[in-house]
């Protein structure tokens, strides 16, 4: 059974490596071990009878069946395992980078712009809230977060497991300023809270990115990952325990987003977005659609800045750092500054997304910023193919859309009975899907890299040459 001889073995089968006799003997040995294992676990079963006494029940037929199954299975395996069969199924060699690389981003962009109105037309107002808010806005938040983390992990090659900390900094910056500071100082600005807090949240998160960057400058790989993980947890624990500022695990009620100062709903009957423009329909739908376009604009800003930066010296320095840090230093690149700018840019975008999250939820508490969030964002970046914006966006749709779609598993009750809770299997299915996708495309959906500058003709670079970075 040589590993190299694939393909030529199909027409004529070589003789089995073992004789029938040897196979039977080996299978008997396996059956013996199986019996040894089955004896205490399967054969002897204890049950409680009606008077709560423990009684011993024997299950000889089940035991015999299992042992026989092991015997037959092993026997057949030994006799047939050497036969090389043609692969029953090959995954299609889909490559977003080569197939339709030109049109994909533009078609995707058009679809994104039309999405709210399409869902309004197709699903009606109540369905539109679900599709626009639960799917559209939710996915775009993760697209933005993953694009931000992509700068740190995908471009600069620094493994950051605590990215959610910057998301939390952004969300709490918005919550604290919008819910406490502005009402207490200049209440006139109340309706503008989100637009005032957005840049502040971004800058504060960037500052925290630099604060995290300094201690981890000398760390690489696993050590870097662990320290960033700890940083994420520290931020979350501070948010829980600094009750005076953050209201602890009860969280903070935040004002909702406004249409540039114009509220969508007004309990006191003031001017609202729909009354000013004379729009019919549910104000909640208006708000969902506005939230959708806001996060779309923010995400596109991230994409634009990232694409621009990749073509600037700082972006090339990030990628060079991922490729070879020693070579960078031999060429006079200040690797300290390069790492800090990567951390700061990634954190800036995380902070902007955080402020948006706060304004969308109307409520922030530390539960939203657990390690699972960091892990999900990192999974999106890795699944998308590190460094590729389109790949990461597609991965966010697959991962977040998939998780959301898995909420709708009620049909499984028809198969497994009413007691079955499909929600519990959500993460199991999601995990299995991740494993399958990573086997299919081990370097992510888009593994190749586009050069940042071209002399003769632009070719994408095979993923095999591109380094993953080592912190």
């Amino acid at each position: 059974m040589s590993a190299g001889g694939q393909g030529s073995m199909m027409s004529e089968l070589p003789p089995p490596a073992v004789s029938t006799r040897e196979a039977a003997r080996d299978a008997a040995r396996w059956a013996l071990v199986a019996f040894g294992l089955c004896f205490p676990i399967i054969l002897l079963r204890t049950d409680q009878d009606l008077s709560n006494r423990i009684v011993l029940n024997m299950r000889p037929w089940l035991t015999l069946g299992l042992v026989l199954a092991v015997f037959v299975g092993r026997f057949l395996w030994l006799l047939t395992a050497h036969v090389q069969r043609p692969k029953p199924f090959t995954f299609p060699r889909l490559d977003l980078a080569t197939h339709g690389a030109r049109w994909f981003p533009w078609v995707g962009l058009a679809a994104l712009f039309l999405f709210p109105f399409l869902s309004l037309a197709l699903a009606g107002p109540s369905g539109a809230i679900k599709w626009v808010d639960n799917f559209g806005v939710q996915i775009l938040i993760y697209v933005m977060l993953a694009w931000g983390l992509n700068i740190v992990v995908g471009l600069a090659g620094l493994l950051d497991l605590g990215y959610v900390a910057f998301y939390a900094v952004g969300a709490y910056t918005y919550a604290i300023i919008a819910a406490y500071v502005i009402p207490a100082t200049v209440p006139v600005l109340g309706p503008w809270a989100f637009w005032i807090c957005l840049p502040i949240a971004g800058l504060l998160a960037a500052l925290w990115g630099i604060i995290l960057g300094f201690p981890v400058l000398r760390l690489r790989g696993d050590y870097l990952a662990i320290v960033t993980l700890a940083f994420g947890e520290i931020i979350r624990l501070v948010l829980i325990n600094w009750v005076a500022l953050t209201n602890g695990s009860f969280g903070i009620q935040t004002p909702r987003i406004t249409f540039f100062g114009l509220p969508f709903t007004s309990p006191s009957g003031g001017t609202t977005f729909s009354s000013l423009f004379g729009l019919p329909g549910n104000p909640t739908v208006h708000r969902s659609i506005f939230l959708y376009y806001t996060i779309l604009a923010l995400a596109l800003l991230v994409a634009f800045v990232t694409q621009r930066m990749r073509r600037l010296p700082v972006g090339r320095a990030w990628e060079a750092l991922r490729e070879d840090e020693i070579a960078c230093r031999s060429l006079g690149l200040n690797t300290v500054n390069t790492k800090l700018t990567a951390f700061a840019m990634g954190a800036l975008f995380g902070g902007l997304a955080g402020a948006f999250f706060g304004a969308r939820q109307g409520f922030v508490n530390p539960k939203s910023f657990e390690f699972l969030e960091s892990a999900t964002i990192l999974a999106i970046v890795v699944l998308g193919g590190m460094g590729s914006l389109v790949g990461v966006a597609v991965a966010a749709v697959v991962v977040i859309g998939g998780i959301e779609l898995l909420r709708e598993l009620d049909w499984m009750k028809a198969i497994f009975g009413e007691d079955f809770d499909p929600g519990q299997y959500r993460m199991l299915i999601f995990g299995l899907a991740m494993v399958v996708v990573m086997i299919w495309r081990p370097r992510g959906l888009i593994a190749s890299r586009h050069p940042s500058i071209v002399l003769n003709e632009g070719k994408s670079i095979a993923g095999a040459h591109v380094k993953e970075g080592h912190g």
């Binding site: 010296p313 700082v314 990628e319 031999s330 700018t341 500058i453 002399l455």
Partner: protein
């Protein structure tokens, strides 16, 4: 004898200790401006350690490494700068201006950025996932970073930055032309054959406009034809650019053919220093490379009283 009359770099009393191991012991030599200087010695003699000290990748245990870009290294100026707490003294008229640099005090990236000492590595260190052109553009990071206004001008697409980038591409193209890699400019550097990668690494180092180029075994793994081409390239770098070369090499055809000055070290100590002819006739060098007869060892031991 330019290394005595017009030294670009002087190394004095350089010692590098790794725990109990003394890799380089009280080594002194100088590198002449416009020379090709070869540092040779048997395996494990400490050549790469000397390189790493000069380029800042190791902090020497003790010793002085001074580089003067504009004029010969002046002992008084070095003494004055050493007495101060500064790492270097530069003319103020240009961002890239020359001056006097105490390399043992400077971190590695600053040596490349300010003192303009570039290096290559024994095991090639390109950016394998970036294209050949990108490798040469990254080497021009510092001037481009200034031109992009620390990214702010670049983000808004300022014309001054686009102009600077065009100039950087032009410089890269001229180097690609010299090493014959124009047709492969848009291929991943990691996809090039070995010999091309070696030459690309030298071109990348040259794109930083170095005054001193340190090459760690540039001919390792090259065939005779490629070695001859390398000799031509190194000579042209010395003659056409104001770049001096310091190289470590085992291939004697390279060392003897192109060097102006050869320094031989063994067990971290300098055993010979001079022109290629004088070094190749030095009995200590011959002994270090070829070994000596047993009776000569006895004679030598008797001389030093063992």
């Amino acid at each position: 004898m330019r290394w005595l009359s017009d030294p670009l770099l002087i190394v004095e009393g350089l010692t590098m200790r790794f725990g109990g191991l003394v890799a380089v012991r009280d080594l002194s030599f100088s590198v002449g401006r416009g020379d090709i200087t070869a540092l040779i010695g048997p395996n494990g003699a400490g050549k790469t350690t000397v390189f790493n000290c000069i380029t800042g990748f190791y902090k020497p245990t003790s010793g002085l490494i001074a580089l003067s870009t504009d004029n010969a290294v002046d002992a008084d100026a070095v003494a004055a700068l050493t007495a101060s707490s500064r790492r270097y003294l530069r003319r103020e008229d240009a961002p890239d201006a020359g001056g006097l640099f105490l390399l043992e005090r400077m971190p590695d990236f600053e040596i490349a950025q300010k003192a303009h000492v570039a290096r290559t590595f024994q095991n090639i260190r390109l950016f394998p996932g970036m294209t050949v052109l990108e490798n040469l553009i990254v080497a021009q990071h510092n001037p481009l970073m200034r031109a992009s206004g620390w990214s702010l001008l670049g983000l808004v697409g300022a014309a001054s930055y686009r102009e600077a980038e065009r100039a950087a591409v032009e410089r890269a193209t001229s180097w690609l032309d010299r090493i014959g890699l124009i047709p492969r400019a848009d291929d991943a550097a990691g996809a090039l054959p070995y010999g091309d990668q070696r030459r690309l690494e030298i071109a990348r180092a040259m794109c930083t406009k170095p005054v001193l180029l340190c090459l760690d075994e540039p001919a390792a793994g090259l065939n005779p034809r490629e070695t001859a081409a390398l000799n031509g390239l190194l000579r042209s770098i010395r003659d056409e650019h104001s770049t001096s070369i310091l190289l470590i090499e085992h291939d004697m055809s390279v060392v003897m053919e192109i060097s102006d000055h050869v320094i031989v070290i063994e067990y971290g100590l300098k055993i010979s220093d001079g022109t290629p002819e004088s070094v190749s006739n030095d009995p200590k060098v011959i002994a270090a490379y070829l070994g000596v007869e047993d009776d000569e060892v006895v004679k030598a031991e008797a001389e030093v009283g063992l």
